[in-house]
Symmetry: D2
Subunit: 171 residues, 4 copies
């Protein structure tokens, strides 16, 4: 049996109501599509995606991973099945990106920007929800530099994001 693909959902603690709703739908849709969902394990977009994943019909224990900045598993939001407390602060984002088969960005702040840029460096396919005016929307359709021929794939909502992820992984 090959390993279940992991989709990282990245986004900030502070997010708009619209972004939180899409993150929750994304978590649910990704689990129902057969994937494992990984986030930064805390609140905001991370909690919404984890909660959606946990509440999916297809959820089984172990489907929701939280890669935490702190050193204690107790920091994880309550929908995380597998807590990975790194104790490494922002450097945990490198791990989150490295473990992902595809990275889906929901949000507009500098944290999301740095994660998108790291995902680009790690040659991971990147899907960005075009919500509002932040970095996910702004980078949709862009190539971040010359090292890759593909671009960040912009999508309108969670449902389209799941479709694109399925396509990227040949499913």
């Amino acid at each position: 049996m090959s390993r279940r693909p992991v989709i990282a959902v990245i986004g900030a603690k502070d997010a708009s109501v619209e972004a939180l709703a899409e993150a929750e739908a994304l978590g649910r849709g990704l689990v129902d599509a057969g994937f494992r969902v990984a986030t930064g394990g805390l609140g905001g977009v991370m909690a919404a995606a984890s909660r959606g994943a946990r509440q999916a019909d297809g959820w089984e224990e172990g489907r929701v991973v939280g890669v935490l900045p702190g050193a204690s598993a107790d920091d994880a939001n309550p929908w995380v099945d597998v807590a990975v407390p790194t104790g490494m602060g922002y450097a945990r984002n490198v791990i989150l990106v490295a473990m992902a088969d595809v990275v889906v960005a929901v949000g507009g702040g500098a944290g999301t920007l740095s994660e998108i840029a790291m995902a680009w460096q790690h040659h991971k396919p990147i899907v960005a929800l075009e919500l509002g005016e932040g970095w996910s929307a702004r980078l949709a359709g862009e190539r971040l530099d010359e090292r890759r021929a593909d671009a960040v794939v912009g999508v309108k909502d969670a449902a389209e994001a799941v479709e694109v992820v399925l396509g990227l992984l040949g499913r």
Copy 2:
């Protein structure tokens, strides 16, 4: 639902036949006791514990975690369900210890020694299989320094280790 406890099994790539057999029995026993098993995700004791965990009657997908030193999930042994590629070399041992509710040591080298010492610093209960003459056996029954009142718990084999872990977690 509270999160499933994680038991880290630590030990080296190079291990005796006896250590490998105990590691495999340990992985199996821990999964059948209801736990998630985490290792360093590579070969030797790590592979044996992962294989045992995967082959347990109680195995469900997601029960076997591998926290890898390299940056690619492809480095994981084939029995790992959730690969966490850290790209951080030996520093991944800090994460392995931090995510564990209990650490079980099977082996005698300097790597195992450093992980036992880190688990002690992180105030994690430590169980050590007394096989042969290495560090796990040597530290059984010892307090590593004054910060803790408990000691490394020595056990004779995998079955006793599982019993002790159940006791430590109040089950």
Copy 3:
């Protein structure tokens, strides 16, 4: 005596001739202005800034730091005085940013983008050389998100960068 301020010069292994010339001038100018210069310790912009720093009139042993992705100090370019081999791959960029009092970006790729975004998250002042069409030039004058009131400070060349750094540090 208070500690000597550290200025991180960030930029890629692959850079234009113009970027390399500015990086070298920047290293020299920062050391002559009394600062310690830190880079990622490898080639391209990192080597050019280190070489300039080493060749400055004001250079004293210890002024040039290289925070390396690999685990061996031998990876450092020959102008690094203090090699910090992290063994942590891209996560070393978090350390480079954390140790800096000001971050100066010379370059346009995704690596530089992720470092600028991390510097923003760490609330470090950011100076960006507006060379060519890459990310340093593109982000000059921008606020990356709402958490900070200041913006990335765009400068035309190394000399202006040194002036801006001196101003930012109240000198």
Copy 4:
């Protein structure tokens, strides 16, 4: 010019008066012997070695490095010239060991034990002060496992440690 060798002095925040006195003498002696001194940058043995290094006749700015667990350079003790805030907690010990040409252990707790074990894994020469009854004294003269032919070199005091370091580096 080849890079100045780095000697890591490892030991705990809590240490005996004798250990602190030896750590201070060690910092002073290592700087006067031409080396750079690196520690974990905080208090206890770390502060004593840094203070001794700073007060050595041969001190020049840049000779004292502190590799910190936290993300802020302000955590460093006042005798550190080059602060490297890692934000990585105990994982910073991996960096401290990796940057060292020789590791000198002054102390007896689990932290020192884990650092000695990591230094062994990194194939770094290890010198241990035989003070009191802790791990440095206990491991003096031992091989931690089969991977190396050498042993931890036990010494009686700081002066002997400096002599041994000079010999190990062929000076």
